[in-house]
């Protein structure tokens, strides 16, 4: 029973992605400075694109595409960080 708390935690993280389509579309701090100070054009395109701009490709509804991208990323990072922790935790006598 005590072990189930992390499922609730993961669900909260996934729930957060549901509001991501309503996030501010304004440039972030670094982008704003790069635009204002005239070095934004130095930014290079990525060599490949998987899910650029947090919009899942091939989904016409942009809100759904954003949420989908968020769910994919949230689950991948969960697996990666959980896996790192499981791999690295100190060995304890059980």
């Amino acid at each position: 029973m005590k072990q189930k708390w992390w499922i609730a935690g993961l669900l909260i993280a996934l729930a957060v992605t549901l509001i991501s389509p309503w996030a501010s579309a304004w440039p972030d701090g670094l982008e704003r400075v790069a635009e204002d100070k005239g070095f934004i054009e130095k930014a290079q395109e990525a060599p490949y694109q998987l899910i650029p701009d947090y919009v899942f490709p091939g989904v016409s509804n942009e809100a759904v595409a954003t949420i989908l991208a968020g769910i994919v990323g949230t689950l991948v990072v969960f697996g990666l960080a959980y896996g790192l922790g499981a791999l690295l935790k100190r060995r304890e006598a059980t």
Partner: protein
């Protein structure tokens, strides 16, 4: 504050890759010594939450937004070393899958938002906690300060990298980056305190897992 490719020169990219790689190697060793069974799922949940929360840009000032970095939150809950590994996980996934932050600039992004932000959070939180004492108020204020300071110092590190790379003069980049991130840092502080308050109310035991 994810730096795209093209903003940092190859030498700056190389040095930050080495610095981040070395820090992460040390973080792996420390995590290996400190991390207990109970903290393993918390690492996953923190990574998941930080990734999701980073998608939520909030407006700060005329036409500018910011979003949570999350290094302070991860550090307060799991210590700076596990925190660094969580931040690296988030940043690697963002660069590889979402093209957010460049591949060449990944070392710099991990350095700013992982290494610098986690260490600053750690020292700010520990020092303020010592000053203000235990208890929810001490934790709240220390958490806010740690979160705010982590964003501002990460922004300063970022402007130094831009300046050394010849992308923007330090006299231009430093004040501009610092000023906007002083505002974004307030958002970081508020979100961090809100999550800490939520955990205090619901799962107080998770606040006591911090190693060290």
């Amino acid at each position: 504050m994810h730096i795209p490719d093209g903003f940092v020169s190859i030498p700056v990219a190389a040095v930050t890759y080495v610095a981040s790689g070395g820090s992460l190697a040390y973080a792996v060793r420390r995590t290996n010594e400190e991390l207990g069974d109970k903290q393993v799922p918390l690492m996953g949940v923190m990574g998941a939450f930080i990734f999701a929360a980073q998608m939520l840009n909030f407006p700060v000032a005329g036409g500018t937004s910011g979003h949570l970095i999350g290094a302070a939150l991860a550090t307060i809950l799991l210590g700076p070393w596990a925190g660094m590994l969580i931040m690296a996980s988030v940043l690697v996934v963002q660069a590889l899958i979402f093209q957010d932050g460049g591949l060449i600039a990944l070392g710099a992004n991990v350095f700013n938002m992982g290494v610098v932000a986690c260490l600053v959070s750690h020292y700010a939180f520990t020092w303020f906690k010592r000053l203000l004492g235990e208890g929810p108020q001490g934790t709240g204020i220390s958490g806010f300060v740690a979160a705010w300071a982590s964003v501002v110092t990460a922004a300063i590190a970022c402007s130094l990298e831009l300046a050394i790379s010849g992308t923007s003069a330090l006299a231009v980049a430093l004040p501009a980056m610092t000023l906007v991130h002083i505002l974004i840092g307030i958002g970081e502080g508020l979100i961090t305190v809100a999550v800490l308050a939520f955990l205090t109310a619901t799962r107080r035991d998770l606040l006591e897992l911090r190693p060290g």
